[in-house]
């Protein structure tokens, strides 16, 4: 399975290597560098590369490449998913997944990698299990450890590793028992020039933060579960119960986890919260362009739209933008050709507008395509699909937990073509 792992920063330096079988020379990465060179963007590097003796499977996360070396047939998704899980674990442990963070914690990283894979086959990937074996670093503990000579490594085998519920550690105790659930929905939409919706989907996720003592058994039911026809669950959810009753029944992991994700496909009618009126044009003569964008509320279900932001990836020929915004402010980055208009709260009475002229490079033919607009927004206390949690019950423990559900709608890949 996975033979070796190399971590490579955006400059192309290998700053960490780990081998689970015999050592493979770093020079194998040269093939990767070659491909990296060829692809202009780092995200255009093919995730799977073939070299004479090995296969290289890589992911790009947080400006780092996680490059794994494979020698024999293995499902590529298996490796990709695992690498992402590694990155997630780093994120979980160190609160970030950058080169500096990993270099600072290189020993813990190494210990983690050692536990996560055995001979290239995943051994323990549940964060609850890992945290019992290798404690995440924090300042207090590192001070204590240096004084007492204690260690970060657990001495017993985590219970979870042996039980049928590897995601929950045993003997959890809290003074305040609480369970919070965030229902977050992202709208992926493509709106064409005339304002009609080409495709719109909702990607929903229920994130949980459960801090309950003992072995609680939770059930969550929805007001309108038939909305959810395409779901994926954390392994803790009992699938059969969902199939028969449309109720989420689970023994939760301790701490933060993603309970479920769901997908409401483009076949359903998806509400689009804002409309965009825009005109971007470039003139042949005078080498200048004009830009005019107005945003207004469409289907917001009576809620206010917040954190509204428009990002435009301008053609190369645009040198500068001279615009005025009726609300919020804009920046134009000359090098990345990125125009960002940060609007903030959408006021339905006074629609925000951005207009002005663009100065173009002379002597270069005008771009034929108008850049598309990417919209960011946030609506609090609303799940745009209409999903609502109706009940959350706990069994198996006697105390009364504090429960809470929060809804947020965001724009995901929301794109307006011009």
């Amino acid at each position: 399975m996975i033979h070796s792992l190399f971590l490579i920063n955006h400059l192309g330096d290998i700053f960490l290597e780990k081998h689970w079988k015999s050592v493979i020379s770093r020079s194998v990465c040269d093939y990767f560098f070659e491909a990296r060179e060829k692809a202009v963007d780092p995200e255009n590097v093919p995730p799977v590369l073939q070299t004479p003796h090995h296969y290289l499977i890589s992911i790009y996360r947080g400006k780092l490449f996680f490059l794994s070396v494979i020698q024999t047939e293995v499902p590529p998704l298996f490796v990709i998913e695992f690498l992402h899980r590694v990155a997630d674990t780093f994120q979980d442990y160190f609160g970030g997944c950058s080169e500096s963070v990993i270099s600072d914690n290189v020993v813990i990283v190494y210990e983690l990698l050692e536990e996560m894979l055995d001979n290239g086959f995943p051994l323990a990937t549940e964060s609850n299990v890992l945290k019992e074996m290798i404690r995440p670093p924090n300042i207090l503990r590192s001070v204590v450890n240096t004084l007492t000579g204690g260690s970060n490594v657990g001495e017993t085998l985590p219970q979870g590793q042996l039980s049928n519920i590897p995601w929950r550690r045993a003997g959890v105790k809290y003074t305040n028992n609480e369970a919070y659930f965030d229902v977050t929905e992202e709208i992926d939409a493509i709106v064409d020039k005339s304002g009609t919706t080409v495709s719109a989907e909702i990607q929903g996720v229920i994130e949980a933060c459960v801090k309950l003592s003992g072995m609680p058994d939770l059930t969550m039911s929805f007001m309108n579960p038939r909305l959810l026809d395409d779901v994926s669950f954390h392994p803790c959810v009992r699938f059969r119960r969902w199939e028969s009753e449309r109720i989420l029944s689970f023994i939760p992991p301790d701490g933060n986890f993603t309970l479920m994700t769901y997908h409401i496909s483009s076949q359903n009618l998806v509400a689009i919260p804002v409309y965009v009126k825009q005109s971007i044009s470039f003139f042949e003569a005078g080498s200048c362009g004009r830009l005019d964008i107005t945003i207004g509320p469409k289907q917001t279900m009576g809620k206010t739209v917040e954190d509204l932001k428009v990002t435009v990836h301008m053609p190369k020929a645009v040198l500068n933008a001279n615009l005025t915004a009726s609300q919020g402010n804009y920046t134009y980055d000359f090098t990345t050709k990125l125009l960002v208009w940060d609007i903030g709260k959408l006021n339905p009475q006074k629609l925000p507008n951005l207009r002005g002229s663009l100065s173009m490079q002379t002597g270069v033919p005008n771009p034929e395509e108008n850049p598309s607009l990417n919209i960011d927004l946030k609506i609090q206390q609303l799940a745009i699909s209409g999903l609502k949690v109706s009940r959350l019950d706990m069994y198996g423990e006697t105390y009364k937990p504090f429960k809470g559900v929060k809804y947020v709608t965001k724009a995901g890949k929301f794109q307006v073509r011009t």
């Binding site: 960490l16 290597e17 079988k21 015999s22 963007d41 995200e43 255009n44 093919p46 995730p47 799977v48 073939q50 296969y55 494979i70 020698q71 024999t72 047939e73 499902p75 590529p76 998704l77 298996f78 990709i80 270099s103 600072d104 914690n105 020993v107 001979n119 995943p122 590192s142 450890n145 240096t146 000579g149 260690s151 490594v153 017993t156 085998l157 590793q161 992926d188 493509i190 080409v198 495709s199 989907e201 990607q203 026809d229 395409d230 994926s232 669950f233 392994p235 994700t261 997908h263 496909s265 483009s266 053609p315 033919p365 771009p367 034929e368 395509e369 108008n370 890949k413 794109q415 073509r417």
Partner: protein, 1117 residues
């Protein structure tokens, strides 16, 4: 902040170590020396007594390893600490050891004893980690130690340790492949493990060590299916992939009936495949048609195990792990019936929201799937629309999927999308879009013109790449039907003035040259223009100008002769030798001179040959011969270690191999049997004295005990129930006794030609006087023979079965579903199971299975000779009256057609009833008895897919609509064996299942008795001399030296009637073969001392020879 950096801060400048150093070149001198110093420093720390210092040193060493620096010179200092008490130090030492052991094998051996001690530790974590490290040390010398450790750990109490053992297997295998056999044993053992923790790891080991040993999976198949949902996600992926392969070898293609429809019937397919495409498919189609035709005869019924797999994997489509979802998706794609594959589309589309790498892989697979199963993804068309922010490789893949999904109904929306894509700034993507449009145009004829127009418009695009790509695509499109589009060719001719991209210019020139007859006026003009600008053109354009000139010269030499000469002259002095060569070559070909050879005659053929239109097809076509989701599929090349996905088998291998025996059951049953025998013994010895020949009693007791113990074993399936089961069996006995009585009465009333059973009964009667209780034992075997002859007795039996207490029946069923007894398996199985099998057959053989030889060995033949004799005459007189039932005394041997375990509760026996088969006199009547032992009703019992030798015919029995649980039914079918002993193969179908069965007749059953007088017999015999007469000398069996015994044995062996004979030294028999009606005459002449001579006269020599053999056997044994 980790402790390590804190420590570094503390230490400050005392050591020249530090984080900022990575990136430096370790080879440069200054740092090299400091390396040495640092190592001394580390050695000191490692040698110290303080754990904290050791830990610090180890942390720094590990950091060095992580950065890829060489720390091997520290090996001795580090290895010393392998037994350190501090667990973190220990772990880090392990990390170091694993990394460098290979390089320093001798020193590494020092640490082995520590691990060996660790293997015995009471803490499972320590045991496991000791094994983990031990097996990770790649030192060949310790292979035997590793082997031992793995074997021990495989039977450890802790599942975690067993899991580690499974992980260690591939490690050892890669170190020393010669250990394979031993490792397979361990794998086999671990495969039987019932914990979810182990399952994934051991299957992984299986895949790496012995993926070809699919037979190891049989017994664990159902368990793996059932455990699957609880296995950790990585294990799930491995198991699902393995099971996909397994299922491909064990089950039948669920789409076999539909594959034809899919190919031909989908309507739009014909639009899609270009002509070449179809030709290619033709062969394949034929094959499929054959298969489908074959399949048409039998409706496909899915193996329940196949269904189990599909059912248990489906929930995993909801997994959060993309690899699991993909694994299930490929399983469904490769294994599910077409109608059910659709479920995976939704899950795959969901994955498109994941990381771009995941998208990349998923889209590749979707692209492959969408070619085969377009309908599946059509509803999700919009999910494949492209955003400007997608990475190019994702865009191109989405484009591929969209193109595959295009059909008449959605093409307009797709083309509209494509229009937006063409304006993209990403030029590679635009080029791909243009190609996609070209493919849509070739596939969907309705939009071909629209696409062409759109592409022609693109010719005026400012971007050269776009124009060039469009020209190339247009060229391909025009090549398909040039005559329709002369105006486009004209338009393109005009474009030559503007387009500067060489590739595009070259393409246009080629088009004009190729289709110059469609544009006769313009072509010479273009050549004129080109001749003017020849010197300034790019090389590829020049080459095409020469080509154009040559073609025009051949078709229109009047107008272009001079121009061509001019162009060729220009080319002659070109700087590029390619062009000079081409010019020289073409001049020789087209301009006839005295020197030019025969080739010039064919110039026209050379230049104006019809060129095949290029095929625009998906690069993903036919990629599905790789298992989807695999690395090989992604790369479209076989990766190392890839296991080929096997084709569906033509016929399903024996499904019973997956039946799992409950180990307690075998033990229990054998014990039960022993007990039973003990009980029986006394009264058998009792009866022995009375009932005459010992042998018969023995054989009876055998058969009786067999049947009894089989029922006993059924009941004892769960040990705890044994008490009840005994009661039950007792009650059964009583009931059977009653039934016996009834039967007797009936039989007396009937008094039909059932002499044998009568005789048996009478003998029983004798027994009964002595030992009343012994009777029920016999009832079973007796009733068996009865059933074959009389429907009455059957009904009585079924009645008795009805009367069985319900609980009893239930229990039986329960056991039936649980216990399973393998038929003789097609493949050799492991020793263990063989042993078990032997036990089983001991239990069951007498009950169901026929003696291996076709010869009939009646159970009760010798019971009462005198009675047989008495009845003999009776039968003869009877036979005169009703020749139809002339069948002389014989117990009919019944054969097993379907064992109740193979048949999943349905058992079928058949016998040759020796009755004339009324619908067709040329057929042999086969009476079948169906018994439903299952807990549910069996419906629609019928025959299908009869496979016969030529000439043979079968008259099927009428379909049995319903066979309720626990019921028995009989039916008679006729088979015309064409006077041969070839087997008739067919499928016995129920509403859920199909069973392959075959009936092979003993030669004696291929004839029907005829009545001849002595004179007729002699006359016929006289005509069947020479080659048609076969004579054998024999010594009669001791027990068979009187006439009656001989008659008895001969008529049992063959369906013949006795011919009266004056001499008492001779017995004569006559019959005719069923199909051809050839006479069969048998004479047994007895002499002194048991010597005898057997003569068979038969027109059909083969039949004669076989019959001699059979009768000989019957008489001598």
């Amino acid at each position: 902040m980790s402790a390590s950096s804190a420590f570094n801060d503390e230490k400050g400048g005392s050591s020249s170590v530090g984080e900022p150093e990575y990136g430096h070149d370790p080879a440069s001198g200054g740092i090299f020396s400091s390396d040495y110093k640092r190592h001394d420093d580390l050695k000191e720390m490692l040698d110290s007594n303080k754990d904290s210092l050791k830990l610090e040193a180890m942390k720094r060493i590990v950091a060095m390893i992580a950065r890829g620096k060489n720390a091997s010179d520290l090996f001795p200092a580090v290895v010393k600490n392998v037994a350190c008490k501090n667990i973190e130090v220990k772990k880090l030492v392990y990390v170091y050891l694993v990394r460098y052991a290979e390089e320093q094998q001798d020193l590494a051996l020092l640490s082995i004893s520590t691990f060996q001690r660790g293997l015995k530790d009471p803490n499972q974590l320590i045991r496991a980690s000791a094994l983990r490290v031990l097996s990770s040390i790649r030192v060949t010398i310790i292979v035997p130690i590793m082997m031992l450790a793995i074997k021990e750990a495989a039977s450890d109490m802790s599942p975690y340790v067993r899991k580690t053992a499974a992980h260690a297997i591939p490690k050892l295998y890669s170190l020393d492949p010669e250990q394979k056999d031993q490792l397979i044993e361990v794998i086999e053992k671990l495969l039987a493990d019932k914990t979810t923790l182990v399952a994934g790891s051991v299957v992984m080991a299986f895949e790496e060590v012995c993926p070809e040993r699919i037979d190891l999976i049989h017994k664990n198949y159902r368990k793996l299916c059932n455990l699957l949902i609880d296995v950790e996600e990585w294990g799930q992926v491995v198991i699902i992939n393995m099971l996909t392969r397994y299922a491909r070898t064990q089950f039948l293609n669920p789409n076999i009936n539909e594959s034809l429809l899919e190919e031909g019937g989908s309507g739009d397919k014909t639009f899609y495949g270009s002509d070449e495409d179809e030709d290619e498919d033709e062969e394949e189609k034929e094959k499929k048609a054959e298969a489908a035709a074959m399949a048409k005869r039998k409706p496909y019924v899915m193996d329940p195990d196949h269904r189990l797999l599909l059912r248990n994997t489906k929930p995993l489509l909801q997994s959060r792990n993309a690899a699991v979802v993909m694994a299930v998706a490929q399983l469904y794609f490769h294994l599910a019936p077409k109608a059910e594959v659709g479920v995976i589309a939704k899950a795959l589309v969901r994955l498109l929201r994941s990381h771009s790498e995941v998208q990349y892989v998923v889209l590749q697979n979707v692209a492959t799937m969408s070619i085969k199963r377009r309908g599946m993804f059509e509803p999700y068309l919009k999910s494949f629309y492209i955003r400007s922010t997608d990475p190019t490789q994702i865009k191109v893949l989405k484009l591929e999927v969209l193109t595959n999904l295009a059909n008449e109904t959605n093409i307009s929306t797709i083309l509209r999308e494509f229009q937006t894509y063409i304006k993209s700034m990403d030029k590679d993507f635009v080029a791909a879009t243009i190609q996609a449009i070209g493919r849509c145009a070739t596939n969907i004829s309705e939009v071909r013109d629209t696409c062409l127009n759109g592409l022609v418009q693109l010719l005026s695009n400012r971007d050269e790449l776009v124009v060039a790509e469009s020209v190339v695509v247009i060229k391909k499109l025009l090549q398909m039907q040039p005559e329709k589009h002369s105006d486009i060719i004209k338009h393109m001719a005009k474009l030559t003035d503007n387009i500067q991209v060489p590739m595009a210019r070259a393409s246009i020139l080629w088009l004009i040259g190729e289709y110059c007859e469609h544009v006769p006026k313009i072509a010479p003009d273009v050549l004129r223009k080109m001749a003017k600008s020849f010197t300034n053109e790019e090389d590829i354009v020049k080459l095409q100008i020469i080509n154009l000139a040559a073609k025009l010269y051949l078709t229109n030499s009047k107008q272009t002769k001079l121009l061509t000469q001019y162009v060729l002259n220009l080319a002659k002095y070109d700087q590029n030798y390619d062009i000079r060569d081409r010019a020289r070559f073409i001049r020789q070909l087209i301009v006839p001179t005295e020197k030019s050879g025969a080739l010039s005659k064919y110039a026209k053929k050379l230049f104006l040959a019809l060129k095949p239109a290029p095929i625009l097809e998906s690069p993903f076509k036919d990629r599905d011969h790789f298992q989807l989701g695999s690395l090989s599929h992604l790369l479209n090349a076989k990766a190392g270690g890839y296991q080929e996905l096997p084709d569906w088998p033509e016929a399903a291998p024996d499904p019973s191999v997956r039946n799992v025996e409950v180990p307690e059951w075998t033990k229990c049953s054998s014990r039960e049997k022993r007990k039973e025998k003990k009980v029986e013994k006394p009264f058998y010895t009792d009866s022995e004295g009375e009932s005459g020949p010992t042998e018969s009693a023995d054989s009876e007791s055998d058969s009786a005990s067999g049947s009894e113990s089989s029922s006993g074993s059924e009941e004892s399936g769960s040990g705890s129930e044994s008490e009840e089961s005994k009661e039950a069996s007792e009650s059964e006995e009583e009931e059977e006794e009653e039934e016996e009585e009834q039967k007797k009465k009936k039989k007396k009333d009937l008094k039909k030609p059932v002499q044998e059973s009568e005789s048996e009964q009478s003998s029983e009667e004798e027994e009964r006087k002595h030992q009343r209780k012994s009777k029920p034992r016999k009832s079973e075997s007796e009733s068996e023979s009865d059933e074959d002859e009389e429907s009455e007795s059957e009904s009585s039996q079924s009645e008795s079965e009805d009367s069985e207490s319900e609980a009893e029946v239930k229990k039986k069923k329960k056991v039936q579903t649980r216990t399973a007894e393998p038929k003789p398996p097609p493949k050799p199985l492991k020793k263990e199971s063989k042993k078990e099998k032997k036990e089983m057959s001991l239990l069951d053989l007498d009950d169901f299975e026929p003696a291996p030889s076709p010869q009939v060995t009646p159970v009760n033949t010798f019971l009462s000779n005198s009675l047989v004799t008495d009845l003999e005459g009776l039968s003869l007189s009877d036979s005169v009256l009703s020749p139809a039932t002339i069948a002389p005394s014989s117990t009919l041997k019944s054969y097993e057609l379907l064992h109740r375990i193979t048949g999943e509760g349905l058992s079928v026996e058949y016998c040759f009833s020796r009755q004339p088969f009324s619908p067709d006199a040329n057929m042999v009547a086969v009476q079948m008895q169906f018994t439903n032992n299952a807990s549910s009703d069996t419906k629609n019992l019928h025959i299908e897919d009869v496979k016969l030798q030529s000439g043979m015919r079968v008259k099927e029995f009428p379909e049995i609509e319903l066979l309720p649980a626990g019921e028995t039914a009989t039916a008679v079918m006729g088979i015309d064996f064409c006077d041969s002993t070839q087997a008739a193969n067919f499928q016995l179908c129920t509403h859920t299942r199909k069973f392959f069965v075959s009936i092979q007749p003993p030669v004696g059953e291929l004839m029907r008795p005829v009545f001849l007088t002595e004179n007729e017999f002699k006359k016929e015999q006289g005509q069947l001399m020479g080659m048609n007469e076969i004579t054998e000398k024999l010594t009669l069996d001791v027990k068979c030296r009187n006439e009656h015994a001989i008659v008895q044995r001969v008529t049992t062996a063959a369906n013949l009637s006795r011919v009266p004979c004056g001499s008492d030294k001779e017995c004569r028999f006559a019959g005719r073969t069923v199909t051809s009606g050839s006479l069969v005459l048998v004479t047994v002449a007895t002499k002194e001392e048991g010597a005898a001579q057997l003569t068979v006269n038969c027109e059909k020599m083969v039949i004669g020879t076989m019959l001699v053999k059979d009768i000989l056997q019957a008489l001598t044994q």
